[in-house]
Assembly symmetry: C2
Homo-oligomer: 394 residues x 2
């Protein structure tokens, strides 16, 4: 369900060659909304990232227009002008200024947007705007590329006697590396937020969600997560305790969305949850988790249901994080494989069966360096991933 004051639509307008898919979505707030964004840290970033970055945080956002099938990345000045024009077209359609619109694009890199197609598409999108769940699902579908399913998460909470809703959508199935979201995400809420608070809460929520996932470790040029808060639930701008409560629920929504990405990772047969504990701080925990998550040898071992603790602990060993090897312990799916720096006897057949028969794999690795812990999600690496990415076209 959309939060109050929001409407949405998603259509096929002809950017993708496959007309059975959707490729253009519009999300509209019926009043000016606070908006915050977090973006790829890739030096090579797409036009919509540059545009949105210049427009957030804001108190005057009315719409977000998103196309899939074309990333509008590495397209130079013309690409940036196309992006500005896309915002203008969406603004005109919903009765707002171009500057009050944010843009996201995803798909192939290095091609110019088909602006005529997009102009016609935006008009159609405008005519299909609705507030029901079908409209939300269609809008969430219009932002997908190789994803096999749409990704929506919703929470409701009560603050000051008013019901507040937070609804997020996201996309991503490959070119997913942590350290900025590496995907598209849009979180809408009818809460009233000050721009600086919106930015702070979104940045914090992203840190433990979209920055804790990896499919292939390749950071994209278009990563963007937007938070749009229109205050339609009524009540004053959130502060102090209510703001903190809202932030906690926002983080839940972001985490739920983030996990959907590796769950739908290209070719993946396992969702791998990596718990790293006993670290000096969260940054070192994240670096260890990321190094394990991105090891092709760890990922292929899990694809092959191989409880290969050696690949996991050796990946931790080359992460660059200093630790005492004699204090490392490791569990896979609850079975201890490694204790204080040495392997322990375990039933390899049992461990292998446990990996093979469950889509979820739980890796837990502990160190003796401190109390910081972090949870990270990734996929296994299968021949199907290779096939999909060796043969990729629009």
């Amino acid at each position: 369900m959309l939060p109050q004051g929001f409407s949405a639509s998603g259509i096929y307008c002809g950017i993708k060659t496959d007309a059975s898919k959707l490729d253009l979505s519009l999300f509209v707030s019926d009043r000016p909304a606070t908006a915050a964004g977090v973006y790829t840290t890739n030096l090579i970033h797409a036009a919509p990232v540059a545009l949105d970055r210049s427009r957030t945080p804001s108190q005057a956002i009315r719409a977000v227009v998103v196309n899939s099938g074309n990333a509008n990345a590495c397209t130079g000045d013309r690409g940036y002008q196309d992006c500005v024009r896309m915002a203008e077209l969406a603004g005109t359609a919903v009765g707002a200024k171009g500057e009050e619109v944010l843009v996201m694009s995803t798909g192939v890199i290095g091609r110019f947007l088909p602006m005529d197609t997009i102009a016609t598409g935006i008009t159609t999108c405008r005519s299909k705007l609705a507030t029901d769940n079908d409209a939300l699902v269609r809008a969430a579908s219009g932002i997908l590329t190789t994803d096999t399913r749409h990704k929506i998460a919703t929470r409701e909470l009560t603050l000051g006697g008013r019901t507040i809703r937070i609804t997020g959508v996201c996309k991503g199935a490959a070119m997913i590396g942590p350290k900025m979201a590496t995907m598209l995400g849009l979180i809408m809420t009818d809460a009233a937020l000050a721009p600086a608070d919106a930015q702070k809460l979104l940045t914090a929520a992203t840190e433990d969600s979209f920055n804790c996932i990896s499919v292939d470790g390749h950071m994209s040029t278009n990563d963007t997560v937007l938070l749009v808060a229109n205050g339609a639930a009524g009540g004053a701008t959130l502060t102090s305790h209510d703001l903190a409560t809202f932030g906690k629920v926002l983080a839940e929504v972001c985490t739920e969305l983030a996990i959907m990405i590796p769950t739908d990772g290209e070719g993946a047969t396992h969702l791998v949850t990596i718990d790293v504990e006993g670290c000096a701080n969260r940054d070192t925990a994240r670096l260890i988790a990321k190094t394990i998550a991105e090891s092709a040898l760890v990922k292929t071992a899990i694809a092959g249901a191989d409880p290969n603790w050696g690949r996991i602990v050796s990946a931790a060993g080359y992460s660059g994080v200093p630790f005492d090897p004699a204090k490392v312990c490791l569990w896979v799916n609850g079975m201890q494989l490694y204790l204080n720096g040495a392997p322990v006897a375990f039933d390899a057949k049992d461990a292998s069966r446990s990996i093979r028969e469950n889509r979820d794999t739980a890796v837990r690795i502990t160190f003796g360096e401190g109390t910081a812990a972090l949870r990270f999600w990734t996929t296994d690496l299968t021949a199907e991933y290779v096939r999909l990415n060796a043969d990729y076209t629009t």
Copy 2:
């Protein structure tokens, strides 16, 4: 051909289950030799790495014993004692002290060495020692794991009127990441070298060879490259100009050996040479090269003969190296795909055919940050790599 004063042998003794392969090799100098080593920087390192590190640089090395099929890694105190014992057994066999022997092991992690098998094997190895090329090939084969071919490089040079030979062997096909060799290598020479010089030359040669290759970016626990110089060619210990000349040829041998590793990379259908130019320094050039080389999306694109410049430049963009995106240019197989930050028109079919029809792929990416350049080698990523590593057993 072996350098003067060296003999070698390689046998099957029963460490591997497949008796059609070799699994134990012995390299012997007929006199005490100078030895230097470079080792994995992985915090989780194997017993032989700890042992050899404590024994190099040295002026008193008589033999190097190497087993494959078992890495003697993550085996704790018992593993270390086994390693010491292995050196003693080899020393006794060739009439030297245990301390005069270096050890290398490669294969599966976390199992104790079958010491009885190895003891018998070393005696057999002793009886087969020879100086001919067949013996060298067998010794070079006894160190292999999933490699499909043995790896030997030889050079001769004349210094002070004497012919000096440098002969190296190495192994490695997966768990290959740069920043220390991530493989085993042994370079023998009949030149006379001071230990400190040997160490300096080996470290420098490794930097531009074994530290410039990657198959899967996973740094192993056992990486070791040894240089053993016995002076059997006669003449004084090398200094000044002769030492520099020797160092240059040593670097050639290391580079030739290093390239053999991704050439034989698991499942690889392409050897990818990445030239990074116009960087502020070699460290930033290496980081960019490594990030491109380890991108699963770049590697699968090359496997699929896709001239996907977007994946290459976006990998450079998230390498962490600062650069001006508007000065980036890219060529693949000599065809320019990207000029000053924007794609250029090119014949995609031609570019794809060029990748598909050649085993070698040349990627050249230039920046406007300085004059440093670096060459790096990697493989593509195929479904066969995944199959090999999802189903890996001894």
